[in-house]
Amino acid sequence: MVRDVFTVLAVTAGGFFFLAGTVGLLRFPDTLTRLHALTKADNLGLGLVVLGLLPRMQGPLGMLKLVAIWLLVQLAGATVSQLIARAARPGGPPP
């Protein structure tokens, strides 16, 4: 029961951050601010979803995989946003 409440709270909060990320991506004025909104929000969003689902996984291997997924997305997201930001600078690839 406590586990269910925890999951609902964390997953709902995660969903909220996905909402925030999308709003930022759609409403922010230029490419670099949009990138900022996106990276902050989607990593927190996924992080909260992972946190909420952790107690529902069977065994330590399942939990390890969840955390690994979150870390991988963090790493990839951080690197790729650096690269995308460089590409978005003047002189980057055209649209």
Partner: protein, 314 residues
Amino acid sequence: MTIALALDAGLAVLVLAVASWTVGARATFPAVVGFVSYGLLLTLVWVRLGAVDVALTEAAIGSGLTGALLLGAAARLRAGEAPAEERPGAILRLVAAALSATVAAALAAAVLFLPDPAPTLAPAAAENAAATGLGNPVTNVLMAFRAMDTMLEKVVLLLALVGVWSLAPDPLWGGRPSPSHQSDPHGVLAFLARLLPPVGIVVGIYILWAGADHPGGAFQGGTILAAMWLLVMMAGLTEPPPVSRRRLRLVLIAGPAVFLIVGLGGLWLDDAFLAYPVAYAKPLILVIEFAMTLTIAATLGLLLAGPPERKLGR
């Protein structure tokens, strides 16, 4: 209408919207980004259809490797794109639309009037599962019941690679393919290319290993290994090997060769080509899968790297 069915319907509408964008967008690059998103959403569709093995393949190949291949190509070919006015005339488009609608309607009718109960080979696959000792029915089909298909498919991969290589101009034959990027060895990309592959190799081998009893297997594991190899090459941490290197070619034929040897052994020891002696079925399949994983990783990586573009010894 249950929540799950609502999710399915929403997912189908979403994927169709992305597919229409891929076909209808004016410029090529946005269309390719649409296609990458399409591949990702397709992974979810496969999960909803209960085909987790296929979802894994789609995630690795459909959205990962194909996405990288097409995005890279779209970026490089930007200059050569045909202007929009070269689109065909209204009559041709109308005829094409009519033809496509007919095909779609025929397929839809086939879906709606499928026989009930549906014909299935699942019971046959379940009955014979004991013969191989593997728990994953899809791996059973791939490696034992329809092993001939899988072996020939390895040959197709090899032929495609020979085709790609032979597109190199004559003087460059035998040279290195070139995703040659002189990137900063201390930059972010090199950082990612140092950190990700160790994790990726563990995951790739895990998925190969899990494939015996759970969704996974040689295709999916090999694809992940290929992606990690390519990442290291793209970051400029290692050179793509020259295509004339003998060791490379041995790796490329290892999968089909081991498959063929085991198959011929079946002819000799048992009664048919590719018949595994029951006592050794599982270890034999694992040996083949291991060789296949290496071959798949090397072949997919080189397919993406493209034809040789630099002379040997430079």
